[in-house]
């Protein structure tokens, strides 16, 4: 497991210098969380795949632009991925995705798996109905574990504005999901 901090700073500087082994360690560490973010933003594996790859290509080609004094690397990568997602949405003007494949959870009966997959698809559909910035804010704070300041930095808004985005997004999610899931 990569030790974040001094090691990461060292890896970034080696990666900027063209050291592929250092770059590989950075990819191994940051790929899973970044992939989760983009998959939830896009909800389509093919498009998400392209955006994730492009994000990491930017780490390789534009790594010299990263300033560790301004942000953590994970925040910087989320910023790139977020902008690529927004560019994609603007370019295609498409909000409703194809349904993604939802993994089955371990130690569940087939019936439970079915209900979970059904719920996951409903949540995905509900997520895609809310504006991209609200979705991004919720994903970063709920799933990605980014701090409110980091998430606000990615979106280029104040913490108050971030809270407002998340509150509106969550309200809308609750409304959309409550038609199928009464307990909400």
């Amino acid at each position: 497991m990569l030790q974040i901090g001094v090691d990461e700073a060292n890896l970034i500087s080696r990666s900027v210098g063209g050291d592929k082994s250092a770059y590989q360690l950075l990819v191994e560490h940051h790929l899973p969380p970044l992939s989760n973010y983009v998959m939830r933003m896009m909800a389509n594996a093919t498009e998400a795949d392209d955006i994730i790859q492009e994000t990491f290509v930017r780490l390789w080609t534009h790594g010299h632009k990263y300033n560790p004094k301004l942000a953590k690397l994970t925040t910087w990568l989320h910023n790139i991925a977020h902008n690529l997602c927004i560019d994609y949405f603007r370019m295609t003007d498409r909000l409703v995705p194809e349904s993604a494949d939802h993994p089955e959870q371990e130690s569940s009966s087939p019936e439970e798996n079915y209900i979970r997959q059904d719920l996951a698809m409903d949540i995905q559909a509900a997520m895609m109905t809310i504006p991209e910035r609200q979705r991004s804010a919720i994903i970063m704070c709920h799933y990605q574990g980014l701090s409110n300041r980091d998430a606000a930095g990615v979106l280029g808004v104040s913490v108050d504005a971030l809270e407002s985005l998340m509150a509106r997004g969550r309200r809308k999610l609750r409304q959309n999901l409550s038609t199928n899931w009464q307990e909400l």
């Binding site: 998400a48 998340m166 969550r170």
Partner: protein, 146 residues
């Protein structure tokens, strides 16, 4: 921290304490433990978080490997690669060799042309030319013509 702010936290961040802002987490937790109304609010909000937790994604298989294999070469390597491409593209080799000879010839030619122009352009040389021309007996040319 008061109940109004506590509800704002739930509205924005949900019921997971780890998602609350670090600087307010302790105060919010203390209020939750002391105020039954807060506990009731948490119950109202937590089903959305439980539902959100069901939305699990799976990383596309082989993605890490694809990223590493499709990595563009560093800029300097790309420039060198463009200038001196793969050996299999034979047409480039005579072209590069010819270009190098041409550049060498241009450099030598430019240096020689420079010294020639310096000599021809100097004022003293022009004066000398005019002086020599004046010594010439031009009247003979006219006599011969007649």
């Amino acid at each position: 921290m008061n109940i109004r702010r506590f509800q704002q936290l739930l509205d924005a961040y949900g019921t997971r304490e780890k998602n609350w802002p670090a600087e307010e987490r302790e105060a919010a937790r203390a209020l939750l433990n002391s105020d039954a109304e807060c506990a009731s609010l948490v119950q109202q909000y937590q089903s959305l978080d439980e539902h959100l937790d069901e939305y699990v994604t799976r990383m596309p298989p082989g993605l890490g490997q694809r990223i590493l294999s499709q990595l563009p070469a560093p800029l300097i390597d790309r420039i060198i690669g463009w200038l001196i491409p793969d050996v299999s593209s034979q047409i480039w080799q005579p072209a590069i060799a010819g270009s190098l000879l041409l550049i060498l010839g241009m450099i030598i030619g430019a240096s020689m042309m420079g010294s020639f122009l310096d000599d021809a352009g100097s004022e003293s040389n022009w004066d000398e030319e005019i002086y020599l021309f004046a010594l010439d007996d031009t009247s003979l040319i006219g006599l011969n013509d007649e």
